[in-house]
């Protein structure tokens, strides 16, 4: 039992990304020194044959250390400094933030993106308590790429009412790249990327798991996440089941006004915002020294209601008694999404090469259900023979196949990466409303990236990428006739349309880290292919009183961005500032015009996709100060300015521009003999007002919110129990969030919320079981 956690720890030391320092009660000079030497000695002591090569992400560093904080070993206690995050930051010229499981548990929000919102420069566009999409430095929707297990996550990226189908309990580490990163991730990464990495592969000869339990008071959430993993020598599996069930959420208001229409809330509950989420994961693979292959199978299902008293921006009269009889039921209107994923990730190292391959299949199946209401020229009673269920307002069914292939080649000072990405999408639609036609999309890109190590403290980066994409949209004709000057006809909303796009992008950057000072600079061009909606939308979004019209002649969106990051670290404090400047020659946006359309738009305001030149700049500030051994303070600030330089909205900002905000934090981590990693932390977030708006937005007043986080590790026998507790919106403040879906109908954000989560890891079989 002695070296339980030693094996995985030791093997890491072979990677330059980790260093080992051995220490212990008695001090053990023979076990400190260069990582390799220490490793050799410790490995010999543990009876492990050398050499063992493992890549850093295979090793559960934090996990194993944390799991047995009090364990005694034959050998002296070994402290592993996991430097890979620090190293990643120092060797990447883009602005990158890395968060781990600890961060997620500490700041657990309703969804992964809500949790990440604590990071400076990251915001969300959300609906309800469980669905949100990322907004990085003010850019969201299809301008941010989410990479899950190496493969681009493809949801239905249409609306602000959609979430991201990712289970935050299955996230081992999340990396947020703020800034244009098309050269590595392809189209869409024009605003940034979020790369989700799984939990590390289990250590050899282990069999264990963990049980997570959580509860939230505001929306009466109950949830659990169960994990079971095992590894013999080379084969392993890692599985997870997550279930969450939540009721309508509560806001600090008895009455809200949708326009001037008063809606009384029953016990502060926002009617019909309850939801459920079930996620399954099964990963299994083979790990050998130079070769590894892992299959990731996952299915994420969620079902959640929309606020019943308004559908979109449209006030609705509802059967309050029916809705108020239970806060947990999910009635109409509601959405449900099922996302299935099968990914294989393999890598093989030989000589100076490391070849990586990812193969992925995904299916995103989304349905929006609502009572049939005839709008415009739709018949007053729903026809029986239409073949579409009467409550199926919209359906999107997307099948995606992806292939990524990369070769990383070390050659002297150079580290080259050659890569190919390709993806094929098939999209089908259904439902009694129409917005976007069915389409097929194929994309392929090749890139080369060179990282040059000038010396240990300086790196240069250069990248070049070429992409080709093809889109094919299919004709759609209304199922009901529209009337124009007396005659009635079935309107063809979308014509067959084929478009293809080519793009050449590049990036150049540098890192310079002489001691306490840190500098990063990057400049690059990024691009984004227009999506089907931007090219071919031609339908009425009745819930927004808008008629959305695509522009079939749009070009691929281009963007030039310069990023700078300066950091200074001293013993007790650190400061980092990361300004950026961004210019779009043609930013694609949905422009609300002054006209109404009678024919295709059934009298609604015309919203037309258009292009304009856009300039944006802003930045983040991070400040940390250690007030004493146990007390530290921090400040995170962010600011963003955007302006349209041409077009119909010249002078205006971009939609969903987050206002300036600052987060002040005070953390107390008292050392305690019985508890490990205990912390009490208070967050004070000040958000400025947002008066720079563009139709159809509303000005949003500033707000102030307090959050409290606290947690510790309790020892239960030999197992550590991790307890995290949060109070969100401590003062139950009533405020509006400028980037929330419900902002336009003036719904306040969630009130006070107590969040308790407990994690109990267990090991049935430990690494190295007295094996000979």
């Amino acid at each position: 039992m002695a070296s339980l956690c030693l094996v995985p720890l030791l093997t890491i030391a072979q990677s330059p990304e980790y260093s080992i320092a051995a220490s212990g009660p008695k001090g053990s000079p023979e076990n400190s020194g260069p990582a390799g030497d220490v490793l050799k000695r410790l490995n010999q002591a543990a009876g492990v044959p050398l050499p063992v090569t493992v890549t850093p992400d295979t090793i559960p560093v934090a996990d194993t250390v944390r799991r047995h904080p009090q364990r005694h070993h034959h050998l002296e206690e070994v402290v592993v400094h996991d430097n890979h995050v620090e190293l990643r930051r120092k060797e990447e010229s883009l602005n990158v933030e890395v968060v781990n499981r600890e961060f997620i548990l500490r700041n657990l929000g309703g969804s992964l993106m809500k949790t990440l919102e604590r990071l400076p420069g990251v915001k969300t566009i959300g609906i309800g308590s469980g669905q949100s999409k990322p907004l990085i430095r003010g850019l969201g929707f299809n301008r941010v790429v989410v990479i899950d297990q190496g493969v681009k996550h493809e949801g239905q990226q249409w609306g602000a009412d959609h979430g991201l189908e990712i289970d935050q309990f299955a996230v081992g580490e999340a990396e947020v790249i703020k800034g244009a990163a098309s050269f590595i991730y392809g189209s869409d990464a024009i605003g940034g990327a979020i790369e989700i990495k799984p939990s590390p592969i289990p250590a050899r000869n282990t069999f264990g798991g963990s049980v997570d339990l959580m509860g939230k008071s505001n929306n009466n959430l109950l949830g659990t996440s169960l994990n079971l993993y095992s590894r013999k020598d080379k084969w392993f599996f890692d599985s997870r089941f997550t279930y969450q069930d939540y009721s309508d959420y509560r806001v600090p208001a008895n009455q809200v006004f949708v326009y001037d229409y008063a809606v009384d809330l029953h016990d502060n509950y926002l009617r019909n915002t309850a939801g459920r989420e079930t996620n399954l994961h099964f990963n299994s693979g083979y790990v050998n020294g130079k070769f590894r292959t892992v299959f990731y199978l996952s299915n994420a299902f969620s079902k959640s209601g929309f606020f019943a008293d308004a559908h979109g921006l449209e006030p609705r009269r509802v059967d309050s008694d029916l809705h108020d009889s239970s806060s947990r039921d999910i009635l109409l209107p509601r959405q449900q999404v099922n996302h299935l994923k099968l990914i294989n990730r393999s890598s093989y190292s030989f000589q100076r090469h490391r070849v990586e391959l990812e193969l992925g299949y995904q299916r995103n199946y989304r349905q929006e259900h609502s009572q049939y209401v005839n709008h415009g020229y739709m018949p007053s009673s729903y026809p029986e023979n239409l073949g579409i269920p009467a409550d199926l307002e919209r359906e999107f069914d997307k099948n995606v196949f992806s292939v990524n292939l990369r070769d990383k080649l070390s050659a002297g000072r150079h580290e080259f990466t050659f890569g190919v990405n390709s993806e094929y999408q098939r999209n089908e639609i259904s439902g009694w409303t129409f917005l976007v036609p069915s389409f097929r999309q194929a994309t392929a890109g090749v890139f080369v990236y060179d990282k040059v190590r000038l010396h240990d403290k300086a790196f240069l980066h250069g990248a070049l990428r070429y992409d080709h994409g093809q889109l094919r949209m299919f004709e759609y004709t209304d199922w009901f006739p529209s009337t124009l000057s007396g005659s009635s006809e079935f309107l063809t909303r979308a014509e067959d349309l084929r478009r293809s796009f080519n793009s050449l992008v590049w990036s150049a950057g540098l890192n310079y880290n002489p001691g306490k000072f840190e500098l990063k600079a990057n400049i690059g061009k990024s691009f984004r292919m227009p999506i089907a909606k931007e090219l071919s939308a031609n339908g009425v979004n009745y819930h927004y009183f808008s008629y959305e019209r695509g522009k079939p002649t749009l070009d691929a969106e281009q963007s030039y961005q310069a990023d700078l990051s300066l950091g200074l670290k001293a013993n007790k404090w650190s400061v980092a500032i990361s300004p950026f400047f961004n210019y779009f020659p043609n930013y694609i946006y949905l422009n609300p015009t002054s006209t109404h359309d009678y024919y295709y738009g059934a009298g609604n305001q015309v919203f037309e996709y258009d292009e304009s030149r856009v300039m944006r700049y802003g930045g983040e500030l991070q400040l940390n100060y250690k007030l004493s051994g146990a007390l530290s303070a921090g400040l995170l600030g962010e600011y963003l300015y955007s302006r349209q330089l041409s077009g119909r909205k010249k002078g205006y900002t971009l939609p969903f521009s987050p206002p300036a905000s600052a987060l002040v934090n005070l953390t107390w981590s008292p050392p305690s003999p019985n508890l490990t990693d205990t912390y009490f932390s208070i967050d004070y977030r000040v958000t400025g007002s947002q008066n720079r708006i563009v139709p159809p937005e509303k000005k949003t007043a500033g707000s102030q919110v307090f959050h409290i986080q606290s947690g510790t590790f309790l020892m239960m026998g030999k197992q550590a129990l991790q307890v995290s507790f949060q109070v969100q919106n401590v003062l139950n403040s009533r405020y509006l969030n400028h980037t929330s879906f419900y902002r336009l109908i003036n719904l306040p954000e969630a009130g006070r919320n107590f969040v308790l989560s407990v994690k109990l890891p267990f090991q049935i079989n430990k690494p190295i079981n007295n094996e000979p």
Binding site: T595, H596, G603, Q605, L623, A660, A662, G688
Partner: protein, 158 residues
């Protein structure tokens, strides 16, 4: 404490900074147009009744700080009680029923360019053979920049 002081000073500095930078006011128009039905001769108003077989004149006062865009009127039945009234006052509604031949009126009206204020006087015919009951009278007006204001009135055809 000195450290606390210097830290809070830094915090204040940042907050002040972020405050002054967002002051840069843009000369862009952020005002919504206004639909005013408070005048004595305005028609219809919330809960107005209209006789089938008659015509009525839709009179309302539209205004904008810069320039009005266009006007759209939509009259549709509300026999299912779906409501998108934007008004505070609730009207007495009939029981839910199925439509047989509901009245449907959707029309756009252009507003002469350059106007800040405009009074509508639009004649609307209500055929005699349409279903009586609860209807919605939805007024949408935009200004030149694309700001739209809605007014959803509940009316009754008798």
């Amino acid at each position: 404490m000195n450290k606390v002081q210097s830290f809070s000073l830094a915090v204040l500095a940042v907050m002040a900074l972020s405050n002054c930078s967002k002051e840069s006011s843009d000369p862009v128009d952020t005002a919504y147009p206004v639909i005013d039905i408070s005048a004595a001769n305005a028609f219809p108003k919330q809960c107005s009744t209209i006789k089938r077989g008659d015509k009525f004149t839709f009179i309302t006062q539209l205004s904008d700080n810069a320039e009005l865009g266009s006007l759209s009127v939509d009259i549709h039945h509300n026999f299912d009680g779906h409501s998108h009234s934007t008004e505070v006052k609730d009207c007495v509604s009939d029981p839910v029923k199925t439509a047989v031949k509901p009245f449907l009126f959707i029309q756009n009206f252009s507003i002469p360019p350059g106007q800040k204020s405009h009074q509508t006087a639009i004649e609307i015919n209500v055929p005699a053979d349409v279903d009586a009951g609860d209807y919605h009278f939805l007024i949408r007006v935009t200004d030149k920049e694309g700001w739209q204001t809605l007014k959803g009135l509940s009316i009754k055809l008798i």
